[in-house]
Amino acid sequence: MANVMITRLTAFDRLVHLGTAASFVYAFLSGIGIAFPKMHWLLTVLGGGEFARWLHPWAGVVFSVFGFLMILSYVKDMFFDTDDIKWMVGIVHYMTNHEEKLPETRKYNAGQKMYFWITVFWGTIIFLVSGLAMWFPDAFAAQVAPWVPGMGVRDLVLLATVVHEVMFIAAGAFFIVHIYMGTLGMPGTLSALATGKVTAEWAKAHHPKWYREMVRKA
């Protein structure tokens, strides 16, 4: 069993994930550089203040496109079941590396599903809509004004800015966890992003139910 590899991500999944990853990382870092004066130096690294401000929304457009593709290709494995609720209740066992006390997980555990719904699903929609409002305030207001009586262009942009920032806080904090779990926190995971394959041991250890499903199929 030592060298048996199981395919976890198709080529399409990997392409979509690399697309969201690259665009999100740029938008995340440049957004931090724009929003936090103490992190303004980040913009120098990212091509300069004006350039980073110019590329940030375009990185957002790329993220939105790949985000929608990601929602379509990943959503089938992301619906919650009763095991997920038990998993969430006992999440502390996951943090302390005692998964044996939790329900066995299928392809994605409840934490990954939450990440999908918050950062990918709502992140794609909310960052795009609030971002467009800040990018094209007048055009956006002209479209939205008939639906929201009494709201001026500036109110709308201010609201969008606050919504953008709240989404950043939720998605950004979760993103840090995601990066950790994909690298240092769970060895053997990162290479799947390039090859799409994980070892059988990895699958058995982290996603036993999914592992058995894959074995049955094989």
């Binding site: 606050v162 904090a173 950790y180 926190g185």
Partner: protein, 299 residues
């Protein structure tokens, strides 16, 4: 973020800059400047507008005959402020207790004591408030995000094609050298008074008292209390009809949403990101990584 002393050894002292810590202010001391717009003395001649265009070498938008036919003819030189038009005389008519009345108003940056543009600007030093109260942009530090107009309670900054903002700078190059701002210099009817802000407020109250004696019971001083006062102070004959004066906002104030996003949300966001990093680090050094071997042992 950058640190700020009150300016260099020559030139104007700086009071505040965008996205920058509060500066050291004990090097220089300059009086706050102000302009009183006495609307009761204004004839709407637009000499101020011409002087502004001339002094700043502006290339203002000039409507073609076709555009005029389309938008309707007006006393106004342009429908709105523009990146190449820092001040604009606005003309409206409305019914008052004294009958059908002209409302003629000079509109430009107000030079707020608590500027919404400066509060909203994320780029260190791109917006500067000098010790004399003048608020100005430093284009070399602007990243073109457009937040200054969003934060402005008076909706003043206008952008060029590169998303860089332009507005009245209170003729900083003139007042810094002891000259009167171009508009005030040109005014032929003394509707524009230039001096220290304190003197202008005092004079404004006198003008308003005079107006009340002359049959304008609703005359009022427009002093932008919500932004801590402003460099521009208006004596309004019809203080109950503020909105007719070139769309002046009734109670100008920085939106609470700006404060929410520059204050609590920044703290929460910083704590969330740094907290996540710290938590992941703690997990790594306490629980340790989720290795395949660790799981193997338990089976």
């Amino acid at each position: 973020m950058s640190y700020l002393t009150s300016g260099s050894t020559t030139g104007l002292a700086i009071r505040r800059m965008s996205a920058t810590k509060e500066p050291v202010l004990d090097i220089k001391d300059q009086e706050q400047l102000g302009i009183l717009v006495d609307i009761s003395s204004c004839t709407g001649c637009k000499a101020c507008e011409v002087a502004c265009i001339q002094w700043h070498d502006l290339n203002p938008p000039i409507a073609t005959e076709e555009e005029l036919r389309e938008n309707g003819f007006s006393y106004q030189s342009a429908p709105d402020l523009a990146a190449n038009l820092f001040m604009l005389m606005k003309y409206q008519e409305a019914e008052t207790d004294r009958g059908w009345t002209w409302f003629i108003t000079k509109r430009q940056c107000m030079h707020c004591d608590d500027p919404g543009c400066l509060t909203a600007c994320p780029s260190p030093g791109a917006i500067v408030q000098y010790a004399n109260g003048v608020v100005d942009f430093d284009q070399s530090k602007c990243i073109g995000c457009g937040m200054c107009r969003t934060g402005c309670p008076f909706d003043i900054p206008r952008y060029d094609a590169n998303d860089h903002p332009f507005k009245c700078n209170f003729c900083l190059d003139r007042v810094g050298n002891g000259l009167v701002p171009a508009c005030a210099k040109a005014c032929p009817t003394n509707a524009l008074h230039f001096g220290t802000r304190a003197d202008m407020v005092e004079l404004g109250h006198k003008v308003v008292a005079g107006l009340k004696d002359r049959g304008f019971p609703n005359a009022a001083l427009y002093d932008s209390a919500g932004v801590g006062g402003a460099g521009y102070v208006y004596a309004l004959p019809h203080g109950d009809k503020v909105e007719h004066y070139g769309d002046l906002p009734k109670d100008p104030a920085i939106s609470s949403l700006v404060h929410l996003w520059k204050g609590p949300l920044k703290w929460i966001g910083g704590a969330a990101i740094l907290g996540s990093i710290a938590a992941m680090f703690m997990h790594l050094v306490t629980a340790g990584p989720k290795t395949v071997e660790a799981h193997g042992k338990e089976e």
